[in-house]
Symmetry: C2
Subunit: 186 residues, 2 copies
């Protein structure tokens, strides 16, 4: 009986020991873990923040690339569209000279034909590149015409209408190379 009691006591003691061990393990583990996990978590947070920062930088710069490409394309199109502007502007006086030469009295047929051919080829070259003569036979439009003289309006020439063209105007697509110099009725 005493033996049995001793056994029981040992058992109870062993159980208590297990309990104490368990509790102590729990407590110590938690503490140690808290420290380590805290450290790891701050490193993780930092890494996550860095990842997000680089991702955002990447996204911003990607959007910027599209802007750069769009602007470059727009600029390219504009340069191509108006590429002939400078040379065309400089050629206009030659065309004026040709037309003045053609207006001279007493030209031989040969010379007249040569001048006409030259004028035609010049106008064709300009037209192929988008240069056209500005219309100047109706209402005066300050966007296209420059009034260099005014005359009183009459039945034939109503007010604010072009009466005569002194020098032809030209435009490249929608851009004025030079306005038409005109006489306007007032």
């Amino acid at each position: 009986m005493a033996e049995k009691k001793k056994e029981d006591m040992k058992k109870v003691q062993a159980e208590k020991v297990d309990e104490v061990i368990e509790e102590a393990v729990e407590e110590l583990t938690e503490e140690a873990l808290e420290d380590i996990v805290e450290e790891e978590v701050s490193e993780l947070d930092e890494a996550l923040a860095r990842a997000e920062e680089w991702e955002n930088k990447f996204l911003r710069i990607s959007a910027e690339i599209q802007n750069i490409q769009r602007r470059a394309n727009e600029e390219r199109s504009s340069i191509l569209k108006y590429r002939s502007q400078d040379l065309a502007k400089k050629i206009l006086p030659s065309l004026d000279n040709l037309e003045r030469a053609l207006a001279v009295e007493g030209l031989t047929e040969d010379v007249k034909k040569g001048l006409e051919m030259t004028r035609e080829s010049l106008i064709n070259a300009l037209e192929e590149e988008g240069v056209t003569e500005i219309k100047a036979d109706g209402a005066f439009d300050p966007n296209f015409h420059m009034a260099v003289q005014t005359v009183p309006a009459d039945d034939e020439h109503p007010a604010d209408h072009v009466v005569q063209v002194f020098q032809k105007g030209y435009q490249l697509h929608d851009r004025i190379l030079r306005p038409a110099m005109v006489v306007v009725a007032q």
Copy 2:
């Protein structure tokens, strides 16, 4: 004495318990930590890898932006440099016509003067845009000249030299608009 022995036994037992607890705590803590730390470390590794990946993507795209801008600038410069190419090419026949008209016999002084002025203004306009006449008075150069006829070489005209220019050639900066049509000694 029995009491003292009991006390001693208890003490020894308690020490043993402490030892066991310590060992168990150590073992269990290590195990638990390993698991948790392993998990945290894999999350951290993942986050670090992500951060690095986005950083690399950012760096690659930054380099790409510089390439895009460089290419766009090069293209822009090239378009601007040769912008007058098309119109200039189309104007050359007008210049030919003018020079043919000027070569006609029996022109009046007025007409001649008018044609000269037109020719000068045309050549000036072209020159201002970078168009120049190709030299064709020395050695034949297939990069600039096109041989349309050959004649036997003599003292005055050594072999592989230009003897006569049929039609003038022109270049825009370093680019040939059309080669000079020439007769070559052989």
